[in-house]
């Protein structure tokens, strides 16, 4: 398996206040099966926090798909989903 999933974590003020600090350790908390298949980047404000319709911060994107209320768990789940090749992710793309 050589697919790589690209995760971008917002570290802007709003996302940070709402818990993005915990996401910054994602690299260390990835389960073994995902190590080497996930590339993590930090972003400054993704610009989605000012629109209430986008949901709750913190925000992250996984292969460009926006994840609201991001947590280590739902980011891992999203990566698993993408790497297993399943469709059905219902996230809008930013």
């Amino acid at each position: 398996m050589d697919k790589i999933v690209d995760v971008e974590i917002c570290t802007g003020t709003t996302c940070f206040v709402m818990g993005a600090g915990h996401l910054m350790s994602l690299a260390e908390e990835l389960p073994e099966r995902l190590k080497g298949s996930v590339s993590i980047r930090f972003a400054r404000c993704l610009g989605v926090c000012s629109v209430p319709d986008n949901g709750r911060p913190p925000f992250a994107t996984v292969n460009g798909a926006l994840i609201e209320n991001a947590s280590v768990e739902n980011l891992v789940a999203a990566c698993d989903l993408l790497l297993s090749g399943e469709k059905g992710m219902n996230y809008e793309t930013v």
């Binding site: 003020t13 709003t14 993590i40 400054r44």
Partner: protein
């Protein structure tokens, strides 16, 4: 003569077994006459008693020096006022006074303390001095050294905790000694000729502790330094300008600034990046963090998030540095404390995101935060700070 700035810094570690430090450092700066007087006194013994002796001595030395009484006379009065210990026949407290009078002259008065180190053009130099004996017919003498400072001169003075560190250990039977300190200072200066007084005193104390068994201070260990230099300038930009038509002007301000620069705030960083065409990059950190990470941009010394980082900076400035963990706030604090003249440029555009009433914290308004940072830098750290709203 050009305007020279005198940076004065001290760092100390008390004897590991004591609760009070027996070395006392006092400093007084008069902005009107540009006179700076610093005193370091080391009280006999250690702990509370030493602390009281040193505090009395330092207070007296400072008062006498600031009074218009001439130096020789006040040195004599002090020597006579401070008795010698009846049992051990040694003075109750030693002291060093460094009196910088404008840019004209520096006078250094020493009684019993290790000889100060004078640096000119990156080298340790010896200065001629005068010696006065005590009227009490004991061994005590006061040394008075006078010189005319040049830009980049430094005076480093310390308690004997520095020179005697490591004493009795196999490598330093006689302690680190004055010559060891001189050697170390020379090597620090050749690595970094512009090292700030703040960094210098910390490095010297740390090196002294390295000589001690398990790095526990065997005596009160204090190092102070005065660094005469051209003022260092720093510009801190935080917040986008009220009117976005001024984005370019703000970026230009930063690009052309003669000194170090910092940008605190995601939006302001994006603006500067866009206007100057310099990409922003946020390196990955390991582990959780209590603050958003630092970003990098060519030509800017520090790029951080805004409100949270500035709140933490204010807290640290208020309480003095405490935790050694490096993050965006500690880096900004270092930058600010290594500067003499600080320009705060505060953007006043309202950031929609922070108006969200659902946020669990009360985000202080940037303007208010910057005002408080200005105040603490001026009052507690004696910095010259200008604030500008755009």
């Amino acid at each position: 003569m050009e305007n020279l700035f005198k940076e004065v810094e001290v760092y100390q570690v008390r004897k590991a077994s004591e609760l009070a430090c027996g070395d006392v450092f006092l400093s007084n700066r008069d902005p009107l006459t540009d006179r700076l007087v610093s005193v370091l006194s080391d009280g006999l013994g250690s702990g509370v008693k030493a602390n009281v002796l040193a505090a009395m001595t330092a207070q007296m030395a400072l008062k006498f020096t600031l009074s218009e009484l001439d130096m020789e006379r006040s040195a004599e009065i002090m020597m006579n006022a401070l008795p010698i210990c009846a049992v051990r026949k040694i003075g109750y407290a030693t002291y060093t006074i460094v009196d910088c009078q404008g840019h004209r002259s520096i006078r250094i008065v020493e009684q019993g303390s290790p000889r100060f180190i004078y640096i000119r053009q990156g080298r340790v130099i010896d200065l001629p001095f005068e010696e006065l004996g005590s009227r009490q017919r004991d061994y005590r003498t006061v040394r008075i050294t006078t010189c005319v400072p040049q830009p980049e001169d430094r005076i480093i003075f310390f308690s004997d905790g520095i020179t005697e560190s490591g004493m009795g250990t196999p490598n330093y039977r006689l302690g680190w000694r004055h010559s060891g300190v001189v050697h170390f200072v020379q090597s620090l200066l050749s690595d970094d000729p512009e090292i700030s007084a703040r960094t210098l005193v910390r490095r010297i104390v740390r090196e002294a502790l390295n000589k001690e068994p398990s790095r526990r201070a065997g005596d009160d260990t204090t190092c102070a330094a005065v660094y005469v230099r051209r003022p260092r300038r720093t510009l801190v930009l935080s917040g986008p300008p009220y009117d976005s038509s001024r984005d370019r002007e703000v970026a230009g301000l930063l690009a052309e600034f003669d000194g170090r620069t910092a940008v605190c705030g995601g939006t302001s960083a994006e603006i500067v990046s866009r206007e100057l065409g310099r990409p922003l990059h946020t390196p990955i950190l390991r582990g959780r963090s209590t603050l958003p990470p630092v970003s990098r941009m060519e030509g800017v010394d520090l790029v951080t998030e805004g409100i949270l980082t500035l709140t933490e900076v204010l807290r640290r400035l208020d309480h003095g540095d405490s935790s050694p963990t490096a993050n965006a706030a500690t880096q900004l604090v270092d930058l600010l404390l290594e500067s003499d003249v600080i320009e705060l440029v505060v953007g006043t555009r309202i950031n929609d995101a922070h108006q969200d009433p659902n946020l669990p914290v009360d985000l202080e308004i940037r303007r208010n935060l910057m005002k408080r940072i200005k105040r603490v830098l001026e009052e507690k750290y004696l910095k010259e700070v200008n604030i500008r709203y755009i």
